[in-house]
Symmetry: C2
Subunit: 215 residues, 2 copies
DNA sequence: AAAAAAATTAAACAATCGTTTAATTTTTAT
DNA sequence: ATAAAAATTAAACGATTGTTTAATTTTTTT
């Protein structure tokens, strides 16, 4: 019956990468505890023992996903902070551009991160992520506060809450498919990843921040 | 040994209410699947059979929590929409005030709702909540768009994304204790519920929206 | 005070969980 | 072609899950 032998993946993803990809999708959709190793195996058409074989445990599989995707963002942000060729207004625009593209592009992964940050009393992996995110947060705040100190932005503005508004807007949209579809006026969730919708969010955010920070 | 008999709750909460309260806290902290009936029983110092006894199942306990807390918000919003004594600027201020107080006051419950909205392929209870939230959403959008039509707000503003920014800001803060502590400059999570911090968010939000909507 | 109802308990249930084992197939290296 | 290594499999492991049972205690009603 060799002719019935299943062809596992036309794109020739190796099994390890296939499990990672499938697990990310399921974790983002349902949460860590709700996803069983058996459901990962079934969805990826692999054996239930392979999670232990490749990653050691379900926990370590999750950590691998998080670590694989942890942003190289910090290097970029640090260089942006130190960049003297750009003024503060240009830097804000760049940050919005970069974050918007990044969150939309890796929206599955961002759901994971967002959920981790909302939970407490969690295993080690959560704290690692939270710390990474907070390191980036400090650099961004430094960039924005520099704009205040050099006179580009209003002094009365609450910089930290301003950044919370920017990220909150993006997360609110990416994290909440039903709401996002209502905003976009579509029924298909895939439409949210279309360039025009992202562009609409971009315009809104930049307009919002510009009026807020301007003297 | 009657003198050693345990006194369960000084505030004389009946057992059913105690289980509800404890379960809400644990679900908000750890998520639905991560919380076992045994952990609820242990944390509330009750027997593991009582969840089934009072609520039928873990699922129905969760549904009871959601339904118990489903906002009376819609009645209020509908009356605000139809109120002709208030102008659009006053209505926006009121909406911000009400939502801010409400989300902070029931921050545990809001974590649950937010998480439900981010997950897909969930049991029935999730859809119920999502639909309720979306009904409120439509009323709010109607109120804001009325402000545009009567000339109070700029026509160029993206009303739906504006509301996403307001809610996103609030949720970002309430849902993310670590970030919120960094913003507030405190280490104790309890400090986030202090009136001065909420007041700070309120001032930021109103200032942000005012500049954004004003001509 | 006796009877009925409600609340609470410990123990057990089957089902599912993550993980391990040991055998087998497939791939790689010699 | 043969041997070694890696990948994959089915089956089983003990632990934990939500739930049910039946007995007991507590409360309420008569």
């Amino acid at each position: 019956m060799a002719f019935l032998k299943k062809v596992k993946n036309s794109e020739s993803l190796d099994t390890r990468a296939l499990i990672l990809k499938t697990a990310l999708k399921l974790f983002a959709e349902q949460g860590f505890e709700a996803v069983s190793i058996r459901s990962i195996a079934k969805a990826s058409d692999t054996n239930i023992a392979l999670v232990s074989y490749y990653f050691g445990s379900k926990e370590k599989l999750y950590e691998t996903i998080l670590e694989d995707k942890i942003p190289q963002m910090r290097v970029f942000l640090q260089s942006l902070l130190e960049d003297k060729a750009l003024n503060s207004w240009e830097k804000v625009d760049i940050i919005i551009d970069v974050y918007l593209d990044r969150v939309f592009q890796h929206h599955d992964f961002n759901k994971l991160v967002l959920r981790e940050m909302s939970l407490i009393q969690r295993p080690n992996h959560a704290n690692i992520i939270v710390q990474q995110i907070m390191l980036n947060w400090r650099i961004i705040i430094a960039i924005l506060e520099a704009g205040q100190e050099n006179g580009a932005f209003r002094m009365e503005v609450d910089i930290r809450l301003t950044w919370a508004s920017i990220m909150g807007t993006i997360f609110q949209i990416v994290n909440n498919p039903t709401l996002a579809c209502a905003i976009a006026g579509v029924t298909d969730e895939a439409a949210l990843l279309m360039p025009d919708f992202i562009e609409r969010v971009r315009i809104h955010l930049k307009s919002l921040v510009r009026r807020h920070l301007a003297k």
